[in-house]
């Protein structure tokens, strides 16, 4: 399934999209991917060609800001779960299925279920997490726990 990994990285990085050899290679890959996907042999989310969102995580003193690129995913198909130390983004990017008589020339986009767990350092206030979804970008903000318990209390040391 990971045929493309056998090729040197540098070669793939440069102009992968418009080089005829690589478009042939990609075609072959997607052929294999689609073939195996039907049988569900590969664990979802691990196989190449199955959709998995790219995630950016930023932080400041007060909060974490997580952004994920989910183009073409509907709001109702996204599920965000926050625990005390991690965030899970789960969902499904659905393939349109209305026409059966499709003749594909390019197939670079990927579909399928995805699930990503983002571990976060330190305690977070799960109850105050906010999530927005706009133009295919999911934006989650989670405040950090500001209580003394999370920060630790400084103990003054007295000279004896």
């Amino acid at each position: 399934m990971k045929v493309r990994n056998l090729l040197p990285d540098i070669a793939r990085k440069t102009r992968e999209v418009d080089h005829p050899f690589y478009s042939l290679q990609r075609e072959m890959n997607s052929l294999f991917d689609n073939f195996f996907r039907g049988f569900d042999l590969a664990p979802r989310g691990l196989a190449a060609g199955v959709f998995s969102p790219s995630i950016d995580v930023k932080e400041n003193d007060k909060e974490y800001m997580i952004k994920a690129e989910l183009p073409g995913v509907e709001e109702k198909d996204i599920d965000v779960t926050v625990t005390s130390d991690s965030v899970t983004i789960r969902g499904e990017k659905k393939e349109e299925k209305e026409d059966k008589d499709k003749n594909y020339y390019y197939m670079e986009r990927s579909y399928g279920s995805f699930s990503r767990v983002i571990p976060l350092e330190g305690e977070i206030e799960a109850a105050k997490a906010e999530a927005k979804f706009k133009n295919g970008i999911l934006d989650i903000k989670i405040p950090k726990n500001q209580s003394a318990k999370a920060k630790g209390t400084k103990v003054p040391i007295k000279a004896a």
Partner: protein, 130 residues
Amino acid sequence: MSEKDLQKTENTAATERIRNVKTFLPRVDIYETKDALFLIADMPGVDEQTVDVELEKNILTISGRVENGRVQDYSLVFSEYEVGDYERSFTLSDEIDKDKIKATVRQGVLRLELPKAEKVKPKKIAINAA
């Protein structure tokens, strides 16, 4: 999934910009039905105001502007994608009815419908018994 699959491909052929941002090639699906060609491009972050579809002679260019994702006062914990504009060009054949191209954007996905010109649609010819 290998790391490379998560990354966007930079468009090295794009014309240089005044805005100091990278330009990426959006991933596309192109398929044909009997009446039209469809082009679907993943361009997360664009909306109907920031996406542009241009047709000059027979070069179709799709481009999208994405606002800089840099936020003040935040430090990066980890990053899997870069924020940048999108641009990609395709050469169309004369078979496309250029006046009837339809474009929609939804959830960061651009969808173009390129209807085929009447003259190239397959026609079934009735055969009369002689």
